[in-house]
Subunit: 347 residues, 2 copies
DNA sequence: CCCCTCTGTGTAAACGATTACATATTTCGG
DNA sequence: CCGAAATATGTAATCGTTTACACAGAGGGG
């Protein structure tokens, strides 16, 4: 492996001069510049970023701590982060870790000396583990915001999204609207529930505990919760699932029970995963700009890194968007049109 | 930031001793061990991995160079890689790069001194850029194998998968089987085409150029290619799309044209993306073990890293699996059952 | 009792870069 | 023509570790 010393020796100059040429710092005669560039190129010299980091104490890398995620969400959030990172000359060091205290601490330690800052996500909030992060480096929290703590964080505007969706159902004339909740300890789930309740209140509808069913974000949970709701003496006319996976489970259950959608029962989800538009009927959902979420998180982090001193900590939220399809309103058949944009999957 | 020197001073020993205790190297008295551990813990000392790497010349990080990927494929391949990497104490440095010469070279340079090896993917093969990688570090190529070069590589067994799928169509009695091809320069696409042709040959069916339509892996391409096929005087009775996205486009086109699937026209895809089983009718496809692909790539790379000297270069292929659903055979309705495994998307 | 081995510890040289400071040469105003 | 300022380059310290080598004291075999 050729080092800066090798280049210096070959060009008969000191390492300092080589460094100056390659970084454009300090004054060097045009002649020497040319020579060094030529030699470095010929020897295929590539600076050792590790060594550079050590002395400059900048790694130009940001750490990403994610729980075990699947599918679209993972890809999109990474895409958003990488775009912004790359635009600013930064790299991404990714680590999937358990969201428990030990997992996070271990991962954070491993990142010491490798990254300039960390974006961490831990939706099943474990305040303990997040709050005394042993970090002297900037951190941005994603989707899990112990409120009121002095730490940068970025969340989906869950409550507003849920509220809008339920308001939409109300506007269609529904009065008995059920919700299938997410895991109890999950921050996003809690917020979506809050939005649901607010919307009912807005509409002057008395909440009915029987219409709030437990769930855990899985298709199976949606499936069984739907069956329970159907068995109710006083059935709801609409079901709002706290995420699309559960909504899909609901669709299966209703279909098997011969319930007409949306005529007999309207169904809505949250997330707007790619599957949603392909359901039968296509599923109304709350679209989450995942990519943007990642991008914004990195922006916040980079600000924290560059303005280390005068960096104002913030809690931010990214907005969602209502996507109405046939599962909530009997519109003229919306056939998924050939998807021109993102369909180009590599294989 | 507390360093090893701070700990040494506080404990009244030399840095060497601290290092020895923390790494379990060399002999240290139990008494001293205890003391140092206590002090290090109290001071919240965390070793600086960057500095360590510099002297040991091991970063315990592997670089991942991926083109601009979407959705499931990206997540799954990363998951597989991260699992294996973590199991071996390694981290993942991820970079999305253009698959052209410049992009790859830039990315590779940026990784110098940050990683011990690189897994690179570039399905639109650009032999030039891949072959004279300026790398002195181990590299494993993913899904893009300029044959016969001395370099580690891992591929999907595309040709066999395609061959099996077409053989399946033949076994159902089809003789006029069309294919919608992928991008001309794409390695996977070329191999799938090869498998298709082999299968026809196996069955003693003369190839018909009119049945080989161009495509580019997008839904839109599948859609229009299907319309062209329908307009043919001598229509095929089955369409094999080189990936699922195009197959989905085909389904749309056929549905709109009122063609019965699979009665009038059988349809098959490749990849088995999660959407496939939710199509109407559910789409037969060739399942690709993406996660395993990533895992195996990292295994190969790690072998190359640890056995730097006596490492035998290999070309490997991971096997696919035929998944037959209703789009190729009129079986009793296969309703997607509640998906218990992976459905738990985070939001 | 001497020498050798083993244990426990410290000193200092790496690793590959950046950069403050020193030095030598040139330029130029007065 | 002198001294200051500007230009070009080199020397060496530094970042936070690991580790080869040196050394001191203890224990043991001959």
């Amino acid at each position: 492996m050729v080092t800066i010393k090798d280049v210096a020796r070959e060009a008969n100059v000191s390492v300092a001069t080589v460094s100056r040429v390659l970084n454009g710092s300090g004054p060097v005669s045009d002649e020497t510049k040319k020579l060094i560039r030529e030699v470095a190129g010929r020897m295929r010299y590539v600076p050792h970023s590790g060594a550079r980091s050590l002395i400059t104490s900048k790694t130009e890398t940001i750490g990403v701590l994610l729980p075990d995620l699947y599918g679209e969400f993972f890809s999109e959030v990474i895409r958003g982060m990488d775009d912004t990172a790359q635009k600013n000359g930064f790299h991404l060091l990714i680590s999937r870790a358990y969201a428990d205290r030990h997992g996070i601490e271990t991962a954070m330690k491993a990142m010491r000396g490798r990254v300039d800052g960390v974006v961490a996500m831990s939706p099943d909030l474990d305040e303990e583990s997040l709050l005394n992060l042993p970090s002297t480096i900037p951190v941005v929290l994603l989707c899990s915001v112990p409120r009121g703590y002095d730490i940068d964080s970025l969340t989906i505007h869950n409550s507003r999204g849920a509220r809008e969706m339920v308001a939409h159902l109300v506007s269609l004339g529904h009065r008995r609207i059920a919700i299938i909740k997410g895991s109890a300890r999950n921050y996003d789930a809690a917020e979506r529930l809050r939005g649901y309740r607010t919307a009912l209140k807005d509409a002057g509808i008395a909440p009915d505990p029987a219409l709030e069913r437990d769930g855990d974000f899985t298709e199976a949970a949606g499936y069984s919760a739907a069956l329970e709701l159907l068995a109710l003496a006083d059935r709801p006319t609409a079901i709002f699932a706290a995420n699309d996976s559960m909504a899909i489970g609901v669709l299966s259950a209703l279909r098997e029970s011969g319930v007409d959608i949306p005529g007999e029962m309207a169904v809505a989800g949250f997330d707007d995963i790619p599957l949603a538009r392909y359901m039968d009927p296509p599923l109304s959902s709350v679209h989450v700009p995942i990519c943007e979420l990642g991008a914004r998180a990195v922006e916040m982090l980079l600000h924290g890194i560059t303005h280390k001193n005068d960096h104002q900590r913030r809690r931010e939220r990214v907005s969602t968007e209502l996507v109405i399809r046939r599962s909530t309103s009997a519109m003229p058949a919306e056939r998924p049109p050939p998807n021109l944009s993102r369909a180009k999957s590599p294989l």
